[in-house]
């Protein structure tokens, strides 16, 4: 299946966008959870505050569907 990874801030360069400024297209085996997909593309979870899919915060056990966009929210800590 195809998954679109989207990120801004410090994570944008780490995901190596290739679709547009914020988005990378990746091929993943059907049934893989988000945590496993992130491992496959070597993204350190400690750099991610949380993830969301279609307007809902999800945990790393969520299994995305073909074509879904997974947004990686970088830590936002300033004030």
């Amino acid at each position: 299946m195809v998954i679109l990874l989207r990120a801004g801030g410090i994570l944008r360069e780490i995901i190596k966008p290739d679709v547009d400024y914020y988005t990378r297209r990746i091929e993943a085996r059907d049934g893989l959870a988000i945590g496993e997909i992130l491992q496959q593309v070597s993204i350190d979870k400690r750099l991610i505050a949380f993830i969301y899919v279609e307007g809902k915060v999800r945990d790393y056990s969520y299994i995305p569907k073909d074509g879904q966009t997974i947004t990686l929210q970088p830590p936002v800590s300033g004030g």
Partner: protein, 240 residues
């Protein structure tokens, strides 16, 4: 009952749908941090007539604060933030009580400093302290309006567990954060203003709160996203 001067001062907001000036006058709010977020939130809350604002920060004013911390000026560099903030807010509205607390908020002094408060407003600058206050606010039963910024982006939510998730349900302690956070001053201006709006809605009962939701402001795209978030049944703070 509002005095003639209060009636005049608040005349432009008294007609706002759902507004209740008496409730605001009775309210007590703790603002944790008097920087970019806390300074803006406290300014609008003072101007709106919140009865008591406790402003807590242990820092002094630095030159690098002045791109976003609009309560302060260049001539005040080196002075204690909360004291300057108290004076500035009092100039805005001398009819309310503004208490400057020059201390570092922690899990040991939170209950004392927040005693009797209706709300905690986040004006902090790091994730670790936010998680600590999230826990302390949960223990004290005080709702927590979370706000944070980075670069062009800002986040806000209203945490009131057990009804809603708490910060620790969504963001783990293990995340790595940058010690010097880049930020364009208008972004904490936006998020601090949204925090003030959220506080007024909670205190008056007007409108709809960001319960179980996170609002993300993307200044680089001028977009807003509102996410839903569930409670984490394994949350180390609010699931116990």
């Amino acid at each position: 009952m509002l005095s003639p001067s209060e009636l005049e001062r608040y005349s432009r907001q008294l007609g706002v749908e759902g507004w209740d000036q008496e409730k605001l006058r009775r309210a007590k709010i703790l603002v944790a941090g008097a920087g970019g977020l806390g300074g803006v939130a406290a300014t609008f809350l003072a101007a709106a007539g919140i009865g008591e604002i406790r402003l807590c920060d242990f820092d002094s004013i630095e030159l690098s604060n002045l791109n976003r911390q609009i309560l302060y000026s260049t001539s005040q560099i080196g002075r204690v933030k909360v004291e300057q903030a108290r004076k500035r807010l009092f100039e805005f509205n001398p009819e309310i009580k503004i208490i400057a607390i020059e201390r570092r908020l922690d899990e040991h002094n939170f209950a004392e400093l927040a005693s009797g408060c209706d709300l905690l407003i986040d004006g902090l600058d790091n994730h670790v302290t936010r998680l600590m206050l999230n826990k302390a606010a949960f223990k004290a039963g005080i709702p927590y309006i979370y706000g944070a910024v980075y670069g062009w982006q800002g986040l806000i939510s209203f945490f009131r567990p057990p009804e809603t998730p708490c910060l620790a349900c969504i963001m783990p302690e293990t995340i790595t954060t940058d010690s010097s956070t880049p930020v364009f001053g208008a972004v904490p201006g936006v998020i601090g203003s949204l925090e003030a709006i959220e506080a007024i809605k909670y205190l008056t009962g007007a409108g709809k709160l960001l319960l179980g939701q996170i609002l993300i402001y993307h200044g680089d795209k001028q977009e807003l996203e509102i996410l839903t978030a569930d409670k984490n049944p394994q949350c180390p703070v609010c699931s116990k």
